[in-house]
């Protein structure tokens, strides 16, 4: 009796181990969770468009033809960290999701970052801005693809200070993202001899900015820095025009501005704004070709924003890593390590690399919003002003506080 049960136990264990071994080498199933703001103020810059971008990344990877089975689920975090983490946990525990993509809203992004690390998944963030994701709160499971607050501060911020804008007043969204952007921009301003003369923190999703704009006007600062995003930025810019801020000699710095924001403001009001992005649909033949395919499938025929482009490019690189491994090991840290070991190259962001802290490095572009007379089509909005190489735009590793670098 005893020997028989021992024998069957050993046999069972051996079979299980063998099965597991085969599974890790040949398992070609992947489940992607596109977690975004599907209905709130960031839904147009990420949202359903990010899910479409993920879908296109799966199709363009050609993995289905090689026997891979890849599914996508999408979720709405409603800009609330508790809802975001609840969805992430459910995805990992019940739905067996391997990789979470997008996640705009820095507050939600940082919360989800912890869950992904705990569950050993893969996290390719495109939508969130906070540089903490690859700095103080970096994780072996996280790749931060598209942009971050350090980059925004060191491109737009620096360019404006150097152009003579040495006194600043901040309108800051009162959560993780706004705080990070204001902090990073302030350090650039002071490092370049400028001064921050004041600022005001406004609640997320504020319809009326007139009180704040009056304070900015009274401060006599040369530059009014908008450390906010989406609907908050469009409302501030629109109302700043109404209060004659730019005509009065002050300049607006939209530290973070997306294609969909410019559309919402209208060129009449937005013209002349300077800002930075890492992707624009009209950069070259490859970006135009992708954007055309993307827009055809979008409800309002909108080309991709840089966030949506980042979801696509990040996933393409993830698939390359999985192919190189030869199967899905369902081990997030291992896949991310592989992603970091391969140089990145794709049609949308060009050549780049993922640094050991998880930060993806690629070119950043300074743009100016066109005048209505210069625009030739419904989405022809940007003029290229300058290109900043990736190694100058993003946090140098020597300045990074990421714990992964200390090994």
């Amino acid at each position: 009796m005893k020997t028989r049960s021992l024998a069957s136990f050993l046999l069972g264990t051996a079979l299980t181990l063998a099965a597991a071994g085969i599974a890790s080498a040949q398992d070609k199933t992947v489940k992607i969770g596109a977690l975004s703001d599907q209905s709130g103020l960031y839904a147009d810059l990420g949202g359903p468009g990010s899910t479409l971008a993920a879908q296109m990344a799966v199709e363009d990877s050609g993995l289905a033809a090689k026997g891979w089975k890849i599914d996508i689920v999408s979720g709405d975090h409603q800009n609330k960290p508790d809802i975001g983490t609840a969805i992430a946990r459910q995805w990992f525990d019940v739905d067996k999701v391997d990789v979470i993509v997008d996640v705009p809203n820095s507050g939600v992004a940082l919360a989800v970052n912890n869950v992904v690390k705990e569950k050993n998944g893969v996290y390719i963030n495109s939508g969130a801005a906070t540089s903490d994701l690859t700095n103080a709160q970096c994780s072996p499971n996280t790749v931060h693809w598209t942009y971050d607050t350090y980059m925004l501060a060191h491109t737009t911020g620096q360019a404006l200070v150097k152009a003579g804008g040495d006194t600043w007043f901040f309108l800051t969204a009162d959560y993780a993202f706004g705080a990070a952007l204001e902090r990073d921009t302030t350090s650039v301003i002071t490092a370049n001899g400028g001064k921050v003369v004041g600022g005001v923190k406004h609640p997320l999703n504020t319809p009326d900015f007139s009180s704040f704009l009056l304070q900015a006007q009274a401060s006599k600062a040369k530059i009014i820095g908008l450390a906010n995003a989406g609907g908050d930025t469009t409302n501030s810019i629109k109302q700043a025009a109404e209060f004659g801020i730019v005509k009065g000699g002050q300049k607006l710095a939209a530290l973070l501005l997306f294609l969909t924001d410019v559309k919402a403001i209208g060129l009449e009001t937005a013209q002349g704004l300077n800002f930075t992005e890492t992707f624009y649909w009209d950069m070259n033949d490859q970006t135009r070709a992708f954007s055309k395919r993307f827009a055809e499938r979008m409800k309002n025929n909108a080309p991709p924003t840089m966030v949506q482009a980042g979801v696509y490019a990040g996933l393409r690189h993830y698939f390359k890593a999985l192919e190189a491994i030869g199967g899905n090991p369902h081990d997030g840290a291992k896949v991310v390590e592989k992603m970091k070991s391969m140089p990145t190259e794709d049609d949308l962001f060009g050549k780049g690399e993922i640094q050991p802290n998880g930060r993806t490095i690629h070119n950043a572009y300074l743009f100016e919003v066109k005048k209505p007379s210069e625009s030739k089509g419904p989405w022809d909005f940007y003029k290229l002003v300058g290109t900043v190489p990736g190694d100058q735009a993003f946090t140098p590793l020597s300045e990074s506080k990421c714990s992964l670098l200390k090994k």
Partner: protein, 287 residues
């Protein structure tokens, strides 16, 4: 000190939106006993109709001020005829749930078609620019909003409290059977009243289109504050909601100046304080 004056004025401007919206709510609650949660969605529809009139029909802002409330008002009357009228005599909760559901559907449909980031609507040429008041730069359009809302609020108050039509209306809500015995078509009057309340919401929407983005959720973001205004003012009290609307706008403006982080919550703190002291609201009568 100058900055303080400026904040007072800005508060008054926001207050005029609160007043217009809460006025419509108060009319509907006072006359129909319906807690109209669809009010924000109808406000948003007013802004969207103004946008479509301009974008598709080339019809300018001034006509939109007239046409949009009529179109949305008719939509409201259809809602009343087909759905809300069946709730007469039932608990308030049913009306609240039904109108909340309507609001979600309307917002969802708009969001599905127009996204969340909004559409631009320019300030009409006649109201562009601004003037320097010494203590602040006042955009002409904002000044116009305050004056226009004040006129509309007072006209509505006059219509309901001082005219014969208003007297019929108030009598009809007290005792519909008796009023009907005098040969007055009470259901039609109620439908028209709902239409009027909805039209006021749409009018506020048109007024707000050039200042804020025309967005599907613009009403959802505002409606909770407006409900707080109505509750503080006293449910159903016309004058109460007008005065509270303007007053809360000013208090909110001052909060934005002294402690901006609390500007989204100050209204609710006030609501709690008022309800603790006077559960019927400032000017409300006991039910």
């Amino acid at each position: 000190m100058q900055a303080l004056y400026a904040q007072l004025l800005v508060g008054l401007i926001n207050g005029s939106f609160y007043a217009l919206l809460s006025l419509g709510l108060a009319v509907i609650f006072g006359m129909l006993n319906i807690i109209n949660f669809a009010h924000g969605a109808l406000y948003m529809m007013g802004a969207f109709v103004a946008y479509f009139l301009l974008d598709l029909g080339g019809i300018n802002y001034w006509w939109a001020l007239l046409i949009a409330p009529i179109i949305v008002g008719i939509f409201g009357m259809i809602l009343e005829r087909t759905m809300l009228q069946w709730l007469t005599g039932l608990d308030h909760l049913y009306g609240l749930l039904l109108t909340f559901g309507i609001a979600l559907i309307v917002q969802g449909v708009f969001q599905n078609y127009f996204g969340s980031s909004g559409l631009p609507y320019a300030i009409p040429d006649q109201l562009k620019g601004g003037m320097n008041l010494g203590f602040m730069f006042l955009p002409v359009y904002r000044g116009w909003v305050v004056i226009f809302s004040l006129v509309v609020c007072l006209a509505t108050w006059f219509l309901i409290e001082k005219t014969r039509l208003g007297a019929y209306l108030r009598a009809a809500t007290e005792n519909p059977t008796l009023v009907r015995a005098f040969g007055i078509n009470v259901p039609r009057m109620i439908t028209l009243t709902y239409g009027l309340g909805v039209g006021l919401a749409a009018l506020a929407g048109v007024l707000s289109a050039p200042i804020n983005q025309v967005r599907p959720l613009m009403g959802a973001d505002l409606i909770i504050v407006v409900f707080a205004v109505v509750v503080i003012g006293g449910m159903g009290s016309i004058m109460g909601s007008i005065i509270t609307g303007f007053a809360l706008g000013v208090i909110e403006g001052l909060t934005k100046y002294f402690y901006p982080e609390a500007s989204n919550t100050v209204v609710f703190v006030l609501m709690v304080l008022v309800l603790l002291v006077k559960p019927t609201g400032l000017t409300g009568r006991a039910a």
